[in-house]
């Protein structure tokens, strides 16, 4: 793995005294630090992917997952601490989301934590599953920012919240001695070995990710794994079996809070962007159909085939493990699992239960954060939407 430290750090003057900037200065002795006044656009310095920008973020740090009303959302709460990723996965949706060249993190940590504090304090009966890995990799910059040293101990004392750090790296060293009190899940995105080696850029190999996960488990952390995106390619069963085998051989399953599954889906623009760079790229060619949410997905029967396989394999290793589908329809749930999320009180409630049971956190909470933050209605089992308008 060759993830290099940033070469230049652009700091917005408003966050010059941020603890993140202090850490960066301490941990990046060879980097060039440039403070930008308000009127100086970063473009003047021709920023590249090897640079990092530390900004003052003025928007909302806490957001709900960008769910749609057509598919079931897990009710994950996003703590928006940065944007973009330099790991360079070919399929990454972030390529279509962002057009700025360099990584960005937000330096006004006090504002971030006070927003979190306010949210948690004013909804004591609500369980928050909060993660930082939606718009960037949670640990990609951790060796230099030390952000985990702020976040993990902060969440350790919150009775109604857990933190999930989602990564494809092995940057876990800073987690070793932190007081987490079992309130942090360290999670890894996993894939088939050929997908990892050919498509996941500078991400760590599966064996390294699992070794890091094992270490975290030894340090008392809870774990989660995300098979997302799952690809349908010749030999997929054998390839994914290998990863699953490796996972359960390495990790004690009682430390795993949940495993998510999500088949490859993409905005049509992403395919165009990828094909410009790699015209022979096969993974977005196949039985992809336009879904009601505007994304291309594998045809339903293929998704069912993929999920059924994963569910049955995982059940062989641990039948009690919470496995869920990311952004899927009730029909697909029924086919893959034999039940609808509604039967378990909805997907957010299912995951809340897994947190309560395995982590013993938020046991007194009666509400799910999704009730508070998910602005879009979730699908029901009745015909409540029209696809014809979108397609």
């Amino acid at each position: 793995m060759a993830i290099f430290p940033p070469k230049r750090v652009f700091i917005q003057s408003e966050v010059e005294n941020s603890p993140i900037v202090r850490n960066l200065k301490k941990n990046l002795p060879d980097a060039r630090f440039i403070t930008l006044e308000k009127e100086t656009p970063i473009e003047e310095f021709f920023p590249s992917y090897t640079d990092l920008q530390v900004l003052q973020f003025k928007g909302r740090f806490i957001r709900s997952c960008p769910a749609t009303k057509y598919y079931h959302c897990c009710g994950y709460v996003i703590l928006h601490f940065g944007e973009r990723c330099t790991i360079g996965c070919t399929y990454c949706i972030l390529q279509a989301y962002w057009n700025q060249p360099c990584l960005r993190i937000f330096g006004n940590i006090d504002d971030m934590l006070s927003e979190v504090e306010k949210m948690l304090d004013s909804h004591k009966d609500t369980l928050f599953r909060i993660g930082t890995g939606e718009f960037t990799d949670s640990l990609l910059l951790d060796p230099w920012t030390g952000f985990s040293e702020i976040l993990v101990p902060y969440f350790a004392n919150k009775d109604n919240a857990i933190l999930e750090l989602k990564t494809k790296t092995i940057f876990i060293e800073r987690l070793k001695h932190l007081k987490h009190k079992g309130h942090t899940i360290v999670s890894w995105s996993l894939n088939a070995p050929n997908i990892v080696s050919q498509e996941e850029g500078k991400a760590a190999p599966i064996s390294d990710r699992l070794f890091a996960a094992k270490k975290c488990a030894e340090w008392g952390y809870f774990l989660a794994f995300h098979f997302d995106p799952i690809f349908y390619f010749p030999g997929w069963e054998k390839a994914y079996s290998e990863t699953l085998q490796q996972l359960f051989e390495t990790i004690p399953s009682d430390r795993i809070v949940y495993i998510s599954l999500g088949s490859f889906r993409f905005m049509p623009e992403l395919k165009k962007e990828i094909l410009k760079k790699r015209p022979a790229w096969k993974l977005a060619s196949g039985e992809f159909i336009m879904s009601p949410d505007g994304k291309m997905r594998y045809f339903r029967d293929i998704r069912i085939e993929l999920y059924k396989f994963f569910v049955s394999r995982i059940r062989e290793f641990d039948p009690t493990l919470c496995v869920y589908l990311c952004m899927e329809s009730g029909k697909v749930w029924e086919k893959a699992f034999g039940f609808h999320p509604r039967d378990k009180g909805g997907l957010p409630a299912m995951l809340d239960s897994a947190v309560k049971e395995r982590m013993q956190v938020g046991i007194r909470c009666t509400q799910s954060a999704s009730n508070l933050l998910l602005t879009k209605p979730q699908p029901t089992n009745t015909a409540n939407f029209s696809t014809s308008k979108i397609i």
Binding site: Y70, K276, P279, A280, W281, K282, S285, G286, E287, I289, M290, S291, P292, R297, F299, R300, D301, I302, S329, G330, K331, E334, N381, T382, A383, N384, F385, S386, T387, S388, I391
Partner: protein, 313 residues
Amino acid sequence: MKELALEYLHLDIIKEDDFFNISSHRAENICKILDEAGEIISPLWVLKTSNGIILVDGYSRFRWAKSRNIPNIPCIIFPESISTLDMLIKKITSTSLVRSFDIIEKANIVSRLYKFLTPTEIKEKFFEQLKIPRKSRMLKTLLKVADISEEVSKYTGVLCDKAIMKLVWWDTESMMAAFDMFHALRCSVSIQMEIIELIEDISRLREEPPHLIIRNRLKEIWTDKIDFRLKTRKIRDLLKKELFPKLSEKEKLFNNFIKSQNLPGNVKIEHPPFFEGDLWKVSISFSETSELKKHLEGLSSYRFIEGLSKIID
């Protein structure tokens, strides 16, 4: 501009220059118009240079005059002080006031401008005037079109601009095969794009160039002497079946089921697009309530519901 002159010049002293000849594919049509008019009214543009008098605008008129042995033609003579680039810009501006350029002309103009200007300058100064969308790779695409403008010009009117701009990124053999196929199909813009995308996806998955698909598996259809629409439909069906085997199978299952039910013509059942989502539709048209009752009873029969549930669930 005080040195600008309007004169009748002898054809022999006017030199053609490929640099300014951006619309040669339009010559045939213009010659037909001139045949009807019988004379050149609008003067040609020529530029005085150290190498003689260069023809800037009016290549079709020039050729028509030559073919009709007309010795002298009216010309506006631009002075030597005007640069080649400025002359081209004047030509672009003057034409764009009267009509829009087609894709070959746009490509030719961009390729000429590229000799003098940077990509950014071309995009900034000319894309809007030429009505070229500012999309990534557009300049490169147009340069590719310019490189093969002679071949492309044979298919204008058959191929849409979007299709041309996609196909120029294919290898030459595949591109030429696609040109031939679309010439034989004469289908709409959206269908051209759909067929191109299907072929591209299949080509990627099979790791074989598109011309093998077009010339080996599709040729029998597009060279057949059947109706254009039928050919197009057969090609689309074949490609869809190859790229979407499972979806096609499901569709077949659904269609066979509906067929087996012998539903009356005024009862229609539709599945959600691509079977994604829950929106199955039944539409019934009727003139009397007894007719409606009969249809509803038929649709709620055990046999019908059981059969349909096998497809839905």
